[in-house]
Amino acid sequence: MRQPRAILVTQGLSKEFQGFRAVSAVDLSVAEGTVHALVGPNGAGKTTLFNLLTGFLKPTAGRITFDGHDITGQPPERIAGLGVARSFQVTSLFEQMTAREHVELALQSGTGLGRRFWRTDTLMRRFSGRALELLGDVGLAHLADRPAGHLPYGQKRALELALALALDPALLLLDEPTAGMGLEDIDRTVALVDQIREGRTVVMVEHNMSVVGSLADTVTVLQRGEVLVEGPYDRVKTDPRVVEAYLGADVA
């Protein structure tokens, strides 16, 4: 079998906060077309790693390459423009905008329409059809015209996902997509991620091991900012170091 190409590579990636090494010399290689999960106890550096990958933090040392581009220290909008979309761990929306306006705004990104200050914003309706489709995919079609601030928590998470999808990214970074969701929402999210992985690469931070088990091709376990173990889920979950560090009770 042909070895798939690595679409995202980090070399010696480190981030220090006033002497504290949140991410320490991480070498990560994400194969194109796979779902790659980042797991680890709280404080392992997963979200910091995400913020480094998407340009919200600048690394203290190391390099990040995406699809052949060196994106180390690039601003978030540039990285997004290259085809990397992310969701946020803490839901991060525009409270006064409706769900549909959110997705329209995301679809508009990259078309250049957002720079037209002399045109009417009714032009954005050209994105409405596609926006409603995407909202339908995440189960939000019936709430399309509700301001995001008025959506229940689980549906805000779903909107996060729709926003990331609207960018039609080659690489999708999901920061705890099922955090705080009920079982039903988790199942739907898993099914959705399984569906959208077609033709893209997904990196996800996830605490829910059954979600990781059913989606991830590769799992990287982080501990105190360092890579502890990496490999397929079945091998990683029985690794004694992992059991000790993190899974413990889950696997026993």
């Binding site: 906060f17 913020n51 525009f94 957002g114 200050f117 002399w118 015209d145």
Partner: protein, 343 residues
């Protein structure tokens, strides 16, 4: 006031919109009949200034405390062009506004990297530098005396009568207001609102937040410059008062009084303040700041949506799935710092 009422009434019955539009137009056309004409023109100038300011404060969430730099620098440049070239005053005002926009580029470039109180302080610091330069560079600006005898040239017209001049200035102001309205309701305006509410998210969607802020800052400065240039032509002089920090403060008061983020409320705020100050000074009351400051405090404490916002909120149709008008809010401290960074 023209186009006015289209804004807050977005989504309301068309006849109400056009009715308010017509009413605004009538008020604008009739103003110099009911007021001393130079005061009516002052209301136009301050109204445009406040609307330009609200584009930045209400729509982009950026509180500038240095907008006198743009109003004032345009007043000087407009005056210089009018004094030395003999060109129509429209050209002079346009030149002044262009100069204000040019000045806004470097100031904005440095200021938009900060938010909240830091943005306000950076803009204030630059405005104080402009004041200092205007004061020191007496050969050009006239120093303490200001630029005097700025003419109101327009070939074929005699604009020496302030009543006539009002109608010459009105189209400039109407165009400026229309531009502000257009920008607020453009695809660009939507991005600006997104950047205001959540810059990190906007950047993750691929929008360079700082560049958008810089553009709206520059446009706001240009429109403020139109207003300041007209003001200088109206009075026939440009003085240090135009670049002084109290001018920056006054436009904040007008915008907040009218209702920030409502765009047209700023016109009401400007009209009220100009009228009040005129009335106080003609009745021989010197400490106008005492009264306008008091009004400001009452509005901030009791009517946070301002005059326009409070009215629109009270008259809002209650049927259907209407959602509460959000309380006006300033930009919180965000940017990269708001990112959840859990080490």
């Amino acid at each position: 006031m023209i186009l006015a009422l289209l804004d807050k009434l977005h989504g309301r019955p068309v006849w109400i919109r056009w009715g308010l539009f017509a009413a605004g137009l009538l008020v604008a056309l009739g103003l110099p009949w009911s007021l001393y004409p130079p005061v009516a023109t002052d209301i136009l100038c301050w109204g445009l200034f406040a609307v330009a300011f609200d584009l930045l404060l209400g729509h982009a969430g950026l509180l500038s405390f240095g907008h006198a730099a743009f109003w004032g620098s345009s007043a000087y440049v407009t005056g210089l062009i009018a004094l030395h070239s003999g060109l129509p005053f429209y050209v002079a005002v346009l030149g002044g506004a262009g100069a204000a926009a040019l000045l806004a580029l470097p100031i904005g470039f440095l200021a938009v990297r900060r938010s909240g109180i830091y943005f306000a302080m950076v803009t204030l610091a630059f405005a104080q530098m402009v004041y200092f330069i205007a004061n020191q560079w007496g050969d050009v600006t006239g120093g303490e005396n200001g630029l005097q005898g700025i003419p109101r040239d327009l070939p074929g017209f005699d604009l020496s009568d302030s009543f006539v001049f009002y109608y010459a200035a009105l189209p400039v102001v109407l165009l400026g207001l229309a531009a502000a309205w257009r920008i607020a309701h453009s695809p660009f305006g939507r991005v600006i609102a997104a950047v205001r509410d959540n810059p990190a998210r906007a950047r993750a969607l691929g929008y360079p937040a700082d560049r958008y802020k810089l553009v709206v800052f520059t446009v706001s400065a240009f429109l403020s410059g139109l207003a300041g240039g007209l003001y200088a032509v109206n009075h026939g002089f440009a003085s240090l008062q135009e670049v002084y920090w109290t001018t920056s403060g006054k436009v904040v008061v007008m915008t907040v009084l009218g209702g920030m983020g409502t765009l047209w409320g700023s016109l009401l705020g400007a009209g009220a303040i100009v009228r009040l100050e005129d009335w106080l000074s003609t009745s021989g009351f010197e400490e106008t700041g005492l009264v306008t400051g008091g009004v400001f405090i009452v509005v901030v404490l009791l009517f946070r949506r301002g005059v326009w916002g409070t009215l629109a909120h009270a008259l809002r149709p209650r049927s259907g799935s209407s959602t509460p008008d959000p309380e006006p809010h300033l930009e919180h401290d965000h940017g990269d710092a708001s990112q959840p960074v859990s080490p």
